[in-house]
């Protein structure tokens, strides 16, 4: 299988001796939905940031959509990200004073690819007809739909999602995960999602569990109760 995202021996240390990642290797194929889980401080956000080119690893290499990005300079890196990657964050990170349509037009106006039409993407996330409303007036679930639409509008190879359902109720969260699932199944997008919610992780194909900056387990995703058990096992192993 062709790999879209390839991390090899990635390490990330912060000042004052804090090591967030040590020697993580991970290969993600096209059209895979990967959930990354782990206790607080296990390095899951750092892993996502390094994989997406938002942060630089201190050692190791990251290949994203066929290009080595860990040594890329800031400008070409930003352009590469803009053209190949979409982001969905827990805190939405939309421009709340602008309208839905203005937010979706943003990547294109910044020079990014306009592979899909704004109306088409809005309809796909169930927000047809809301284009002219300011994002600040929308509910949390609607905002996260806008964020997914903005990630999809450039037609990315990979979507990185950082706790996309962290601020939402279970029903709304389920709808958001359904949208990510559909992007994988219908558009062939690759999704790497960080979450601490076993129910959210159950939507994925593959589950990577992190413990103290290393990969503890990496296997096909079981059902939610089994995920919760595995998560507990990994966390208690740290505590012990």
């Amino acid at each position: 299988m062709e790999s879209v995202l390839e991390l090899r021996d990635v390490a990330r240390a912060f000042p004052r001796g804090i090591v967030a990642l040590r020697q993580v290797s991970l290969s993600v194929g096209a059209g895979e939905f990967v959930a990354v889980m782990g206790a607080t401080g296990s390095g899951k956000s750092t892993l996502l940031h390094c994989a997406a080119g938002l942060d630089r690893p201190t050692a190791g290499s990251v290949r994203l959509a066929g290009r080595e990005i860990s040594r890329l300079r800031e400008r070409p890196l930003t352009r590469w990200r803009r053209d190949r990657v979409g982001f969905v964050f827990q805190s939405y990170n939309l421009l709340s004073e602008l309208t839905v349509r203005q937010n979706l037009a943003l990547p294109g106006r910044l020079g990014g690819p306009r592979r899909r039409g704004i109306d088409e993407v809005l309809a796909a996330v169930g927000l047809a007809g809301t284009g002219s409303r300011p994002v600040g007036q929308l509910s949390g679930g609607q905002r996260q739909r806008v964020a997914i639409a903005r990630a999809l509008v450039t037609g990315p190879s990979v979507i990185f999602a950082d706790e996309p359902t962290g601020a939402l109720d279970p029903t709304t969260g389920g709808q958001i995960l359904g949208l990510l699932r559909r992007a994988v199944d219908e558009q062939g997008v690759t999704v790497l999602m960080v979450t601490h919610d076993p129910v959210a992780a159950a939507w994925s194909d593959r589950l990577v569990l992190l413990r103290a900056g290393t990969v503890a387990t990496d296997a096909a995703t079981p059902d939610a109760p089994a995920i919760a058990d595995r998560l507990r096992a990994v966390s208690t192993a740290v505590a012990a």
Binding site: L54, E74, R75, L94, R109, L110, T154
Partner: protein
């Protein structure tokens, strides 16, 4: 709450602080200058000559203008600072603060900032006044016996001006957030309403129309009355333009769409921040109009009569103007910096959406140029409405005259000022990685 406000965004108090400092300095300088003329040991003939020269009157006008400007500029910067706290105000209202308590806290903030600013400003003003007096003497505008004496009550008077003006500005800005029901206030800060209040629009239109009408009326009066009322015309027009500022900036935002994707992004950003940016528009317009009026009158007189005014007179005119312009410029830059710093998160989000640092900065520069253009157009219009009657009564002409060099310098100076207040802080703010800013 006061501590929270001061701590959470200390930079937003830089605007009020520096304008209050300058206001106190202007008042102290003006008062000191009048005292110096009064106390100068002069024989009756020399005293009479000094009175005839009108220098003492100029000093009094200096103080009056300083107070007018303080009311407008200190008020505007303080109001902008409080408007930034809308969310905090909504939060403390939600956890049980009464509207009265919010107003008291806002008033206390105004006073806390005004007192140290004034304590620093008064000695600065005394130094400036001393310089001015020695300038007057070296230009032979006053006898050497005139030396600088600070006004005995400069400090309390300056305090009254700065505390009074910033209190007024802060309380006016706090009216809306303190009155709203907390739930509504929280919703509003999440999605601030963009429409202009009817009261504000009406007041703006009345001031603009009133100023224009007054300007037309005084065109037929004698030169001295026209001169005195001209200032009033200009202030009315500037404040009116400030009240209509958001609408004017929205026009600029639409114009921005003509400049491709970058212009469109800049236009969108200006349109949603039109209210905050219009606080910068008032001092910018004042500075442009003040300078333009002085330069146009002096240069048209020169052009029309063929004789340049004496160097000493010119020094007198320009020294006064440059002080006011510096005052207004500081206020404008401060407000712009405050607006940009409150957008750090938005800039980071833009970067996450795929903007390179350079691209995001280009958008900010484009915004700055749109604001500059708006300020120049409005300032020029205000200057034209103000000067035309003055020129008509004094020189019998309706055609103002301004050398190209001055015009270009003015445009460049304004653009530099606006860029210094926007692109520079934006560039500094974007040195942090965007993901750190948003998380």
């Amino acid at each position: 709450m006061i501590r929270q406000a001061l701590r959470s965004n200390p930079w937003s108090f830089l605007g009020p602080f520096s304008t209050q400092l300058l206001a106190a300095a202007l008042v102290a300088a003006g008062l000191g200058i009048t005292t110096s003329f009064d106390r100068a040991p002069l024989n009756p003939a020399a005293r009479q000559a000094l009175t005839d020269s009108g220098l003492a009157d100029i000093a009094i006008i200096f103080v009056m203008i300083a107070i007018y400007l303080s009311i407008i500029i200190v008020g505007v910067t303080m109001a902008a600072t409080i408007a930034q706290q809308a969310r905090d105000i909504a939060l403390v209202r939600a956890i049980g603060a009464t509207p009265g308590r919010v107003r008291r806290s806002v008033a206390a903030q105004a006073a806390i900032v005004a007192v140290p600013a004034t304590l620093l400003g008064v000695p600065v003003g005394s130094l400036g006044g001393r310089e001015w007096i020695s300038g007057v003497v070296t230009h032979d505008l006053a006898p050497a016996a005139v030396t600088f004496h600070p006004h005995p009550a400069a400090l309390p008077i300056a305090l009254a001006v700065t505390v009074g003006t910033s209190l007024a500005g802060a309380l006016i800005a706090a009216i809306r957030p303190s009155r709203k029901r907390p739930a509504a206030a929280l919703a509003e800060t999440a999605a601030p309403h963009r429409r202009l209040g009817r009261v504000r629009t009406t007041a703006g239109l009345i001031l603009m129309l009133g100023g224009t009408t007054l300007s037309i009326t005084i065109a037929d009066l004698d030169a001295e009355t026209t001169d005195a009322l001209g200032l009033l015309v200009m202030l009315a027009l500037c404040v009116g333009a400030g009240l209509l500022g958001p609408a004017l900036l929205r026009v600029a935002a639409v114009a921005g769409r003509l400049f491709g994707d970058t212009g469109r992004l800049a236009g969108d950003a200006i349109a949603v921040r039109a209210k905050a940016l219009s606080s910068a528009l008032v001092p910018l317009t004042l500075a442009i109009a003040f300078t333009a009026v002085k330069v146009i009158i002096l240069k048209t007189t020169e052009h029309k009569t063929g004789t340049a005014p004496a160097a000493a007179d010119r020094w007198l005119e320009y020294s006064g103007t440059s002080v006011y312009v510096a005052f207004a410029a500081v206020a404008a830059v401060n407000t712009l910096v405050t607006v940009i710093l409150s957008r750090r998160r938005d800039l980071a989000v833009t970067q996450l959406a795929g903007a390179t640092r350079r691209r995001a900065l280009t958008v900010v520069v484009c915004e700055a140029l749109l604001v500059t253009a708006t300020a120049l157009v409005v300032g020029a219009a205000v200057a034209a409405i103000t000067t035309l009657p003055l020129l008509h009564t004094a020189l019998g002409t309706w055609v103002p005259w301004m050398p190209v060099g001055w015009l270009v310098t003015g445009v460049l100076a304004t653009a530099t000022l606006v860029l210094a207040g926007t692109a520079l802080p934006a560039a500094l703010a974007m040195r942090r990685p965007p993901i750190e800013v948003v998380s």
